[in-house]
Symmetry: C2
Subunit: 279 residues, 2 copies
């Protein structure tokens, strides 16, 4: 198959490596001439260009740009495509993307590979990045079933675990397990830094260990990603944040009223249910 | 020196191992006859008994019982002690303990070794558990300086990092870096479980990975420990929880009003300040 990839970063580059190894012809487009050169030199792609025109022959195109650039990229790409070309993206939110792109190109299947590393860019691209990890596809009513089938087959060939759901379900699910944790964790650091007694703050910094380290990790991460989550998944994130605040209010009341049996029950429940997230 | 240890669990047993290796005579007391036998068999202590009378000759006694048992143990121990005997404890909260015990025995120095493993009991006791880790001592105005000096010397001989502060400062600091994270993390699991659409909850459980794993870890831990933190460090925990809620309210408002520059600044700050907790 002729597979196009727009955006040769960690995800685009890693997709290219795996799909090329499976025997597909890979046509890569990057805004940077240097990235195109690197992609060819390292054998990540068969052909590379800064011009979207390169993708005229592609059967399937993966849009691997940042979220804000997905719809504009599709618009610029359309003049070069044949009607049968299937488009898919790798954005970490789906409703906002699908709502913008589906009206532009009916043969579009929203996608979200849930794989990553701390690194980014073509240099970070690696084989088997998707193996065993979830890869969500979010077709809507208007998505042709053949397009879904073809993207699904490609994703399965990466040995990823495929999940199909609607964009809204995807966004609500990732709000819980990815975007809410970032906000909860960032707010922990922010609250600690609000300590008004310098001696207490200093001591807290000296005494902190693995518990604080783990709970604060994602809140101390890349600010751009955090803003992106809130910006493009605002509705679902606010839904999760509102529930979180409601439950926090209840928790505070329980501690205030010294209702230790209720607190014990709550913590028994959280201990019981956490493993259900890691089956 | 003759060193007594009441409570031969993970902390008491590990203290015994290290102090015995340093040449002290170790006198251990446990409520369980079986634990006394094990402690002797494994060379953890020199002498062991279920009777506190065993500690009549001790120069220093470490009370390594659960928090609720510290003051009652001191009361039962007093009839057997000479006036010069120094008492210290290993409880993870200090104000409640010191307020109860200091009036009973002036030669008392509150302590908190910040070391541990996921295991408990005499079987989990290990050498060098305290090496390189913080060990907080919380003398008050009435604590004799010689008592502080002797406990401090023993703790330094374990190659722990000694911090001295008042009980209130200790409790406020651990509320930030230990007790608040447990509540924030437990509330994350609790909020996720509040999801009313079964399909979304199921999907969230299938898609969760390292971010959720780390942020939810301490909230899925031992419920007894969580209740103990809230119960004995209630005032400082509520102080931290209230600040956390205030900052969360601000965060929600920022997302609601789509003030992305403010959110970016906030996340820049949390990224910048997190490393100050791991110097």
């Amino acid at each position: 198959m002729n597979i196009g990839i727009v955006g040769l970063g960690l995800i685009g580059g890693s997709l290219a490596l795996d799909l090329r190894a499976l025997g597909h012809q890979i046509w890569g487009v990057s805004r940077q001439e240097r990235t195109c050169q690197l992609a060819i030199e390292r054998g990540v792609v068969d052909h590379a260009s800064v011009n979207l025109k390169l993708l005229a022959k592609a059967d399937v195109v993966f849009i691997c740009t940042p979220i804000a650039a997905i719809a504009p990229t599709v618009q610029q790409l359309i003049p070069y495509l044949s009607r049968e070309t299937i488009l898919t993206d790798v954005g970490s939110v789906k409703q906002a993307v699908v709502e913008e792109v589906a009206p532009l190109w009916s043969n579009f299947v929203g996608g979200h590979p849930m794989s990553g590393t701390a690194d980014s860019g073509i240099e970070a691209a690696q084989s088997n990045l998707f193996a065993g990890n979830p890869y969500v596809l979010t077709p809507v009513e208007t998505t042709p079933s053949t397009a879904v089938k073809i993207v699904e087959e490609i994703v399965r060939s990466l040995t990823a675990q495929v999940y199909l759901c609607c964009p809204e379900e995807h966004d609500r699910a990732v709000a819980w397990i990815s975007h809410l944790p970032v906000m909860v964790s960032a707010n922990l650091i922010d609250a600690c830094m609000s300590e008004t007694e310098p001696a207490v703050l200093k001591l807290a910094q000296q005494l902190s260990s693995s518990g604080f380290r783990d709970t604060s990790r994602v809140g101390g991460g890349n600010p751009e990603l955090g803003v992106m989550m809130a910006r493009y998944n605002r509705e679902a994130l606010l839904r999760s944040l509102t529930t979180y605040r409601h439950n926090l209010d209840q928790l505070i009341k329980v501690v205030e009223s010294q209702d230790w049996q209720v607190l014990d029950n709550k913590l028994q429940q959280t201990q019981l249910h956490r493993p259900e997230f890691f089956c």
